[in-house]
Amino acid sequence: MSDRLTSLHEAIEKVLPDLDGVLALKSGPGGIVSPYLFSKEHPEELAKLAIWPKEPVPDTLKIILRAHPDAKLAIVCRGCEERGIVEMFKHAQLGLDNLTLIGLQCEKDEAEFCRCAKPFTVHAKTIVGQPIEGVADPLTEQVSALSQPEKLAFWKQEFEHCIKCYGCRNICPQCFCNICALEDEKWVETGRLPMAKPSMYHLVRAMHMTAKCVACRECEETCPADIPMAVHFRLIARDVKEMFNYETGADMEQKPPQLLVLEEGEYDRTGLPH
């Protein structure tokens, strides 16, 4: 058992008796990992505690909390998952009063797998593992360095592979709407494959990820066509940071910028005409 897994085990054991459950990952048949709510009634199940591959636990948390809004839970979350929880909190999708965050710090190979700039938690009081620096995102750099026609060619090719499984939407911790614009004929040609040309599916989704994407890359991971859609989200997140000084998951009080009035100096950074 790795050090991190041992520490996590201990951290969960410590809080488990006082809670209705701890949401973490469990190794199942064939070593296949999935989210699981460990309970004080069955502490022995912690023997099957797992940490990799990561799973969209904020989404699972939301499912549990919708049925049990007053449950006292803890969740084992990585940096991206913590950001996901914070953004869901900011969108009134869950409360944090009864929630304990156990921050699991990613290791370098994990961060590199996710091309993650922030593989660490910032809000969790209990920390497991050593926080490390973010890593570069070579793919995003590579795509953003392409010329305009090259970019278009790149994305046309990627989008051509899309089978509209809606997996990217389904797995996203920030896609919690009851109905979805992507299923509305007004915005996306629904029920038709191959994708229309042009199709706005991925662009509508990218716009909906503005100031919302927490860079967990679950969408890319679940995509059967391996479309690197997080590249879009990350480039936009960079702009939102530059223009409006907003980062998802950072400040619990800060509201998404596109909802609010312009602050001093913001207009000048939008590139709009004077």
Partner: protein, 136 residues
């Protein structure tokens, strides 16, 4: 006690054999999660797999056979239904010969079910008209 778990299973829709987790909250099926480190589907699913849970408890799902009588569908027992199918198939075979019947099976079925289907076609009805959805 709140109970949340994921039950690993295989997608019922086609022959690919994607693995998926059925999300079970308090013994109720609430959703589907792909299985990340599964050798076949590698964390991906298609739109059918993603919605594989949706029909299970759907109010429109048929639980019992229906037989149309006087233009209206009415609930029937399995014995009644099977007898009706057997009678009709027998009648068609007698009237128009075994090759007037075709058998269409599915990649969604198990190997055993598919074996039984072709055996029934060949041995009982007497035709080689057997096909399945994966060729569509």
């Amino acid at each position: 006690m709140i109970k949340y778990e994921n039950v690993l299973t295989t997608c019922p829709y086609c022959g690919t054999g994607c693995a998926l987790h059925l999300q079970v909250l308090d013994n109720t099926l609430v959703g589907v999660l792909p299985a990340k480190n599964h050798i076949i589907s590698n964390g991906g699913l298609c739109i059918k797999g993603w919605n594989a849970h949706a029909f299970v408890n759907h109010p429109d799902r048929l639980n019992k056979p229906l037989i149309r009588k006087n233009g209206k569908l009415k609930e029937a027992t399995w014995d009644e239904a099977l007898k009706l199918v057997a009678d009709k198939l027998g009648a068609i075979k007698t009237e128009s010969g075994p090759d007037s019947v075709a058998f269409l099976s599915s990649a969604k079925c198990t190997n055993e079910e598919n074996y039984l289907m072709q055996k029934f076609a060949r041995a009982v009805i007497g035709t080689n008209n057997v096909d399945h959805c994966a060729r569509l």
